[in-house]
């Protein structure tokens, strides 16, 4: 009986808590699903090219197909940019100042020299010596080595962010260019990719969309859903359950709705995130310098009201995301959880590349890269975070007997700047300099003589990569276990699907092990428990004694 009752109680609590939180939380101004606001369908939500064009025509004050500058059969991307900047005279100069362009970033607080071209991660590891491949996600054309001209205005790629046709693709290995001729893709697959129609793309440019941002940000780490866990192509056209803000039939937020931009500088940074924003809502036109992409910037410091105002007492310790993103990778795609480079190079009996696929159709093993694991609907790992991230850089010497943190999230319960955040922790085993105890740069793709993915020779690949990056290498490659943390901040669930109270307020709940957090129901104080039990026991004894005395007295009296 107890079993049924406890389940029933737990279900009832879940329902009540969810209902409670739903009353006033983040999406309190979101329309009910049956009251979707009337609006124009955006390019991202459109399945058909014609619909996208129609939407653009309704929203934009300019029809780019009517500009004679764009009525040209462009020979390549830079030629398109030349036409763009003939009107948008400052655009390229603005782009030049962004990390989207430079892949270079100095953290003002930690003084660490970061940016894509400098850090080494535990996915494809590093950019130097692999430019042609990696710069498929650069907002420019032609970055194929360290001699790239960062001052060239024509090298800026306008189309990758402003395409509305979904036909503009930059393939790995082309140094940021789309293919201008028919090419076999993937190589040796027997499949062919037609050249991009630059005139069509240029004449249909528009605002950025989930599709354009996602072309790179959904595919970080080498493929769809690989890197972040909370960013993948299921967000291109998501349902309400997956993200209440981006719901294509509801609020239909583009990325830029939160990641606002000014002079092409986009709010929100992975290198210097805002972990605790208590500045309240940001008024339009405000000149205040702050990250506009936080939850608080729209929802304010006191987002819960009425009988659920109690939830506001959680916000000093918990990030909004901790409750409002119950799990990541909740779409149709599995996210990569581990990558073990140390097993690469195992070829089939004919000496050819071997790929073994798992139940979800994703590669579990690839001779080029080693072993992988994947997961879907992943419960985050939680950690204190104050926004400061310290990276292990190429010159950082570490202890190879410990698991190496590629990046460390700083923060604690007592610093007044931290909140508990949900994170994806990506675990790997990767190459390092066994003598110097430092991470290494590895030649993976570009150089035909040394590239790991062409020769399967890790020593040769690291030797070349380090030489290319101007780093000393001892000549001995080892394998180090690593972890890299990613804050989870997308895939915000509908209000009724937030993490329920009992999921934390119980023994071994979600936040078990987080230091400095007192959670009723999860934490206990032994001496208070003993006093409580003693009082209850003495009360019981008292009641029994009282009853016994009255019974005896009654018998005697009778």
């Amino acid at each position: 009986m107890f079993k049924f009752n406890s389940k029933g109680l737990s279900l009832a609590m879940t329902f009540v808590m969810s209902l409670g939180m739903s009353w006033s939380v983040m999406a309190s101004d979101a329309p009910a699903p049956d009251k979707v606001p009337e609006k124009v369908v955006t390019a991202a939500a459109a399945d058909v090219f014609g619909v996208a064009v129609e939407a653009k025509a309704k929203k934009s004050t300019a029809d780019h197909s009517k500009f004679k500058e764009l009525d040209v059969n462009f020979k390549d991307g830079p030629a398109v940019t030349k036409a763009c900047i003939s009107c948008h005279t400052e655009a390229s100069k603005q782009i030049h100042k962004t990390t989207h362009w430079s892949w270079d970033y100095i953290n003002a607080d930690t003084k660490q020299h970061l940016g894509k071209k400098n850090v080494i991660n535990n996915y494809c590891t590093s950019v130097p010596s692999n430019y042609k491949f990696c710069t498929a996600c650069h907002v420019g054309y032609g970055w194929e080595d360290e001699n790239f001209d960062f001052k060239s205005e024509e090298n800026v790629d306008c189309l990758v962010c402003h395409d509305t046709t979904a036909s503009y693709k930059k393939l790995p290995g082309l140094a940021g260019h789309p293919n201008y001729k028919t090419i076999e893709w993937p190589p040796h697959s027997g499949k062919f990719k037609a050249p991009v129609d630059l005139k069509k793309v240029a004449q249909n440019v528009g605002k950025t969309s989930r599709a354009t941002c996602g072309a790179c940000h959904f595919r970080g780490g080498g493929g769809d859903a690989v890197k972040h866990g909370d960013l993948d192509s299921s967000l291109t056209n998501p349902d309400r359950y997956l993200d209440v803000h981006m719901d294509a039939k509801g609020l239909d937020f583009s990325c830029a709705k939160c990641h606002t931009s000014d002079s092409h500088e986009v709010a929100g940074s992975r290198y210097a995130p805002t972990a605790k924003d208590d500045k309240g809502t940001q008024i339009r036109g405000s000149l205040e310098e702050r990250n506009a992409a936080t939850c608080v910037a729209c929802h304010g410091n006191v987002p819960h009201s009425g009988e659920f105002a109690k939830m506001n007492e959680h916000t000093d310790k918990l990030a909004c995301q901790t409750c409002h993103i119950p799990a990541y990778a909740r779409g149709d795609l599995v996210t990569k959880m581990t990558w073990d480079w140390s097993t690469l190079g195992d070829l089939d009996e004919n000496g050819h590349r071997k790929q073994i696929y798992g139940s979800e159709g994703k590669a579990l093993y690839d001779s080029k890269k080693g072993h992988f694991t994947y997961e879907r609907y992943v419960i985050p790992e939680y950690q204190w975070f104050n926004g400061e991230v310290e990276f292990t850089l190429a010159d950082t010497v570490f202890d190879p007997n410990q698991v190496l943190k590629i990046n460390s999230f700083k923060g604690s319960a007592n610093d007044g700047k931290s909140r508990v955040w949900p994170t994806k922790v990506f675990r790997g085993k990767q190459m390092y300099d066994k003598v110097k105890n430092t991470l290494v740069v590895t030649s993976l793709s570009d150089d035909p003589e040394t590239a790991l993915w062409k020769n399967y020779d890790i020593n040769k690949a690291v030797e070349y990569g380090m030489k290319y990056a101007g780093k000393e290498f001892s000549g001995e490659v080892g394998w180090i276990s690593t972890e890299m943390s990613w804050p989870i901040t997308h895939m915000v669930a509908p209000k009724e699907d937030v993490v329920a109270c009992h999921q934390c307020h119980r023994e071994n709940g979600r936040l078990a092990g987080i230091e400095g957090l007192y959670i009723p129901g999860a934490n206990n104080t032994p001496w208070i428990d003993k006093i409580g039990f003693a009082i209850a026991f003495l009360t019981l004894i008292g009641v029994l004694l009282h009853g016994l005395i009255r019974f005896v007295m009654h018998k005697r009296g009778g």
């Binding site: 699903p33 119950p326 798992g358 419960i379």
Partner: protein
């Protein structure tokens, strides 16, 4: 005499309470899987196909959480692996007295994730259910096969998930033949 009657009634109540409390674990069984939801379901499918000698075939794979997601809310992944064996279903469907048990067909094994992030397998206690409905001998065979379905060989690589469509709707001969 009075004491005996009271003792008898207390005994009945006690047994009833214990039976009620244990009913869920007696009729349904939950085991933890070392694999993810998709891989667990795929390994069960492979094991089912491995028992084709006992007449087992895959008759469907359902994803009820997908339907819930489409309605706008989140539930963790759930996959229902459906299988059927005419060796066992035949005798049950043949007899007027037991044909109503077709309501339990096809044999379904559920694979799901819980809030602890782990994957679980849910099974019906075929042996007990068979005894309750008077087909104990037949269902004892099903119970034995079920154990094989959920016994995994970690040395074997993960097989692909077979996205077999459940038997379609429609009437009579147009219905799917998943038992």
């Amino acid at each position: 005499m009075m004491k005996a009657v009271v003792g008898f009634i207390i005994g009945i109540v006690f047994v009833g309470v214990v039976g009620w409390n244990m009913a869920d674990t007696m009729m349904l069984r939950e085991v933890e899987s070392p694999y993810g939801v998709e891989e667990t379901a795929a390994r069960i499918q492979r094991n089912i196909q491995g028992l084709s000698a006992n007449g087992w075939t895959l008759s469907g794979l359902r994803n009820p959480s997908k339907a819930v997601a489409k309605s706008g809310t989140n539930v963790p992944p759930v996959l229902l692996v459906e299988a059927c064996s005419t060796k066992y279903s035949g005798p049950i469907l043949k007899d007027d007295a037991t044909r109503i048990l077709s309501i339990l067909m096809p044999c379904t094994i559920t694979v799901y994730k819980k809030d602890d992030g782990k994957t679980y397998i849910g099974l019906m206690n075929a042996g007990l259910m068979g005894k309750m409905f008077g087909v104990g001998d037949i269902m004892a065979g099903v119970a034995k096969d079920q154990e094989i379905f959920v016994t995994f060989d970690p040395k074997k690589p993960a097989p692909p998930l077979i996205r077999v469509q459940p038997g379609g709707g429609g009437a009579g001969g147009k219905a799917g033949d998943g038992c």
